[in-house]
Subunit: 217 residues, 2 copies
């Protein structure tokens, strides 16, 4: 069955790969599943047709036959559960890989989202400059803990998994601020993720779409 | 095998059930699995023994034989996957229930966490009063979208699932601010969750522990 995902018609990041469709594209590339992309404009995101697919008016969504999903974590997990390559076979190792998916999305990403909001939505506020270091320190605190846990390992728990895919994707958002590079082992970890052929294909596909060179959609 | 979870020795909320161990207790009660609780003090949370279990120094954690997990989402999913009662049998319905777990944790909870931070960690800042309405509106926006999607249904997608367990738990945190009650269908949805016998048992257990009446740990 054809897999169809939605992505921004033009991502706000201009194709840096930070929009969440890149995470789903990456997962699909890791497991070798072809997919089609339906671009969604900022106006269409808030219209009934898209809201029926995604109640929060975000991207990406995932359609496969009569199954329709939203939420990147859920979509990546769905892909990882059905195709080999993103979750270990051993039951305990699998549960730990899933733990890292949730850790990326519910413990590491929230302060990173808060920093984006502070920089973008609150940049014109009177408190912006004074408050920013506080928010940056919250990101730094989380990354510090993660850096200690990763140590000298290549990936978070044995072989590359959906947990690493999600964590690398979340950490990529901290590179523009310079915070990622304060933790050399995390910067190297992200670079290992980006060096994977599947990531490169996913990145190139979203870049082509965002620069108007897409063949799909 | 004995299931052991960690919880605050004394929760900052004094036993209102908002600490995340309540989510895990609730899941275990729904599927009828007994468990033991190891209380962790604020000092112990940051010590090597606990950091080995939870790299971010948070609660809860989950131990079962040689499996050790952290992250509430991952723990609840692990319980839901292994025992009947929290995930539907139909593959598509199961994927949608998992979607709501991720939506609760990665889309609905982040603005709620931001509001808690604004109220607790930034209450003494010069910008606190001026900024608060902005943060509250972000919570209101998400809850408004969720309210539209829930409509008149009892649960988010058919029967009660781990997705509802997580969403009700996340929404409970918006009641003190009064925002939850601005959405009568969401307030009723949360009340339905709280009325479940398994929730009541979980709530009572954490309350007993936080008021010094616990028999476990």
């Amino acid at each position: 069955m054809t897999i169809i995902i939605t992505a921004f018609e033009r991502s706000p990041d201009g194709g840096k790969g930070l929009a969440r469709d890149t995470r789903v594209r990456w997962a699909l590339e890791e497991v070798g599943q072809p997919y089609e992309v339906r671009p969604v404009s900022f106006r269409e995101k808030k219209e009934p047709a898209h809201l029926a697919l995604h109640p929060f008016g975000l991207i990406p969504t995932y359609e496969e036959g009569d199954l329709a999903l939203f939420e990147t974590g859920s979509i990546v997990f769905h892909i990882a559960e059905r195709h080999a390559g993103l979750l270990p076979g051993d039951a305990n190792a699998r549960a730990r890989a899933i733990t890292w998916m949730f850790a990326a999305l519910n413990t590491v990403e929230p302060p990173i989202l808060e920093l984006s909001i502070a920089k973008i939505l609150e940049s014109d506020k009177s408190w912006s400059q004074e408050r920013l270091p506080l928010v940056e320190d919250r990101v730094r605190n989380r990354l510090g803990q993660l850096s200690v846990r990763l140590g000298k390992a290549d990936w978070l728990d044995g072989a590359f998994s959906a947990g690493d895919l999600m964590m690398v994707s979340v950490l990529l958002r901290t590179r523009p601020s310079g915070i990622l590079n304060e933790f050399p082992n995390l910067a190297a970890y992200v670079a290992r993720g980006e060096a994977r052929p599947a990531y490169k294909r996913a990145f190139d596909a979203q870049l082509a779409q965002n620069t108007g060179k897409a063949l799909t959609g």
